[in-house]
């Protein structure tokens, strides 16, 4: 169970982080939500101790271009993340630092660190189908959504509905999970007209240091024809040594890649 959560966190903290904020959930007495909460609590504790290091390839497909980037990422907990692009050469060294709900990009060519302003949060991250918000706001997104767990089918279906005061572009998020091993299957985002706007699916489970995790994430925006972003995990180290707190600073962000 824990394994899957860890992966989610590694990547943009998007996939599973709804688990992680159980303490913020409005306590519901219904049995299944209690169960979900318990589950989440456990996962949350496990997760907080995790530091990770990963190498991944991101493939962006659009009708106009296709490109591929190799990058490495470091995470501590869900609040801290550093991503560095390794290839292609043109973009080598471009880095993104996320600290809590703030985010900076560093461009080595021009030696500039640029904070991503709130207005750019729904903008694309490095030309992919992930938004900056996917990297940053996920925590608060889960804080601000009401959970409901449906166990009746062959799989778990968890529906997230934003609370009244929540500022978000999603009207509903539906997460599907396998029942027997708690693997995530897909996460679907709905807009205010209840249209499915984008889907993220988890595929190709692989062994990473004794843990089996989906190694491919696929984000498909349904409102943009021909667009797709794939993230493939090449290497993944959990509880990685050497990933320290001081890696996640603006000074560290500006360190150049050799």
């Amino acid at each position: 169970m824990t394994k899957y959560i860890t992966l989610g966190l590694l990547l943009f903290s998007l996939p599973m982080s709804w688990f992680l904020t159980a303490e913020n959930l409005v306590t519901d007495t219904s049995a299944n939500e209690e169960k979900a909460k318990k589950l989440i609590q456990q996962v949350d504790d496990m997760y907080r101790s995790t530091a990770s290091r990963a190498t991944m390839t991101m493939r962006v497909q659009t009708p106009n271009y296709e490109r591929s980037m190799t990058m490495e990422s470091y995470t501590i907990g869900e609040e801290k993340m550093l991503i560095r692009i390794l290839a292609p050469k043109k973009e080598r060294g471009i880095s993104t630092l996320k600290l809590d709900e703030e985010m900076w990009n560093f461009f080595p060519k021009i030696n500039k660190t640029i904070k991503v302003p709130p207005s750019m949060m729904m903008g694309s991250w490095m030309g992919s189908d992930f938004t900056n918000d996917d990297l940053v706001k996920e925590t608060s997104l889960t804080d601000d959504y009401a959970l409901s767990l449906d166990e009746s089918g062959e799989i778990y279906v968890i529906t997230l509905i934003p609370r009244a005061q929540t500022v978000t572009v999603w009207d509903k998020i539906i997460i599907k999970m396998n029942k027997e091993n708690y693997t995530p299957i897909e996460q679907a985002f709905y807009d205010e007209k209840n249209r499915k706007v984008r889907v993220m699916s988890y595929r190709e489970p692989k062994q990473f240091g004794g843990v089996i995790l989906p190694s491919v994430l696929e984000m498909v925006p349904l409102n943009k024809k021909g667009h797709k972003t794939l993230v493939l995990y090449d290497k993944l180290e959990l509880n990685a040594e050497g990933v320290e707190e001081d890696l996640f600073t603006l000074r560290s962000l500006k360190r150049r890649l050799r």
């Binding site: 271009y65 490109r67 973009e91 030309g127």
Partner: protein
């Protein structure tokens, strides 16, 4: 023949009246010729400024780039368009371009900018950009030792980002491959003025822009020059035919600068009203004189009719009189307007307050000379005078000899 002779003689019978009528017609001629000359001259001047400043006579784009520009609507430099342009005899020169927007950073400040990639040599041969360099050198230096390209910036950019020649400017935008375009450039020149339309523009050498926007070998636009702006439609048709690709759009400057062209056409209509008023005043003067002369010669016409002159001949004589007078006045007006128009064409009036027409600064009012400019007023003046003199002519033709002679 007799009618013509009579008409001609009649003109000189009342010299003072003929002189006055002639003056109003001759004056009208000069006024009309001058107006037409100035209108045509000014507009051709502005069109020249607009087309050579930036637009060119004809532009080539991918699909509907003009209405809905997009970074992906590109033409490939190797697609054969360039060969066709090079081989088309009516194409004088052409220049490839890339357009984009981005954020520019100076030392402390940042500002949104428009980024234009141009081929230094071809652009110089096509538009007047070289002449707009106010400070620094036009793309003279290639990539410097640090690998920075030299770029040209508008005055607005220089002011906002506090940049001067030799400073570094950082540009950030998004590339055609989805990457984040970011690079440092060196300011090599300042172009235009503080009010010119390129004030918030950064000009990059084409290859630097292609590299920046990750669009190697691609351009957004070709600006093409032919011999004269008036040839634009013709060249558009020629190029459309030889390129023969439904995905490539060829547009003349009248389409590219549609707003400017339409406001110019509207202004021309306004000028026609002014000319109409001039013609109307002339007509009233002519009508007045002819009516007077007919009235004065009532007896004379009575005699003519009494001795058996055809009524139509009387009419023809009166109209011929005025037409002859009109032609004479126009001839004199022509001689007088010749030096005037010559001066306007070659010297012109420098306006105390330059007019900004859609971003194009227009400061000298010049005229134009040409056969049409001298002939059109003749047609208008003689034609309207003749038309107006129909009324008195009919009146004269309808005189009853008895009434006329008995002085009743």
């Amino acid at each position: 023949m007799l009618v013509a002779k009579l008409a001609f003689r009649n003109i000189f019978r009342q010299r003072r009246r003929s002189l006055l009528t002639g003056l109003s017609m001759g004056g009208g001629y000069i006024l009309l010729a001058l107006t037409i000359s100035l209108v045509e001259g000014s507009y051709n001047n502005i069109i020249n400024i607009v087309t050579t400043d930036h637009t060119g006579h004809v532009q080539i784009h991918k699909e509907n780039y003009l209405e809905r520009p997009g970074i992906f609507k590109t033409l490939s430099r190797g697609s054969g368009i360039e060969t066709l342009l090079a081989n088309e005899p009516s194409v004088r020169s052409w220049a490839p371009r890339i357009y984009g927007v981005g954020l520019g950073y100076g030392d402390e400040k940042s500002a949104p900018l428009s980024i234009v990639g141009i081929d230094p040599v071809m652009e110089r041969n096509t538009t007047s950009i070289f002449g707009k360099v106010r400070e620094g050198n036009y793309f003279s230096d290639p990539v410097n030792s640090d690998g920075y390209y030299s770029v040209m910036i508008g005055y607005g950019v220089a002011d906002m980002l506090k940049l001067s020649i030799g400073d570094e400017i950082v540009l950030i935008s998004s590339g055609a491959d989805g990457s984040i375009a970011n690079d440092i450039y060196r300011v090599g020149a300042l172009v235009g003025s503080r009010d010119s339309y390129e004030k918030m523009t950064v000009y990059l050498p084409l290859e630097a822009a292609q590299d920046f926007f990750s669009m190697k070998g691609k351009v957004h636009e070709y600006a093409v020059m032919t011999s004269h702006p008036s040839e634009a439609w013709k060249l558009t048709a020629v190029l459309s035919a030889i390129i023969d690709d439904p995905l490539v759009t060829v547009s003349p400057w009248q389409v590219v600068e549609a707003t400017f062209y339409k406001s110019m056409e509207a202004d021309k209509q306004g000028n026609k009203v002014t000319m109409g008023i001039v013609v109307f005043l002339i007509c009233i003067g002519v009508l007045n004189t002819v009516l007077m002369s007919v009235l004065e010669r009532t007896k004379e016409f009575g005699v003519m009719l009494a001795v058996g002159t055809n009524r139509l001949m009387v009419m023809a004589m009166i109209i011929l009189e005025i037409v002859t007078l009109g032609l004479l006045s126009c001839a004199i007006g022509f001689l007088l307007s010749l030096p005037l128009l010559y001066w306007f064409t070659h010297v012109g009036i420098t306006m105390p307050q330059p007019i900004d027409m859609g971003g194009v600064i227009y400061d000298t009012m010049v005229g134009e000379m040409g056969a049409a400019i001298f002939i059109i007023p003749v047609v208008i003046i003689v034609g309207s005078a003749a038309a107006v003199s129909f009324i008195p002519a009919i009146r004269a033709a309808l005189i009853t000899p008895l009434d006329a002679l008995s002085d009743r």
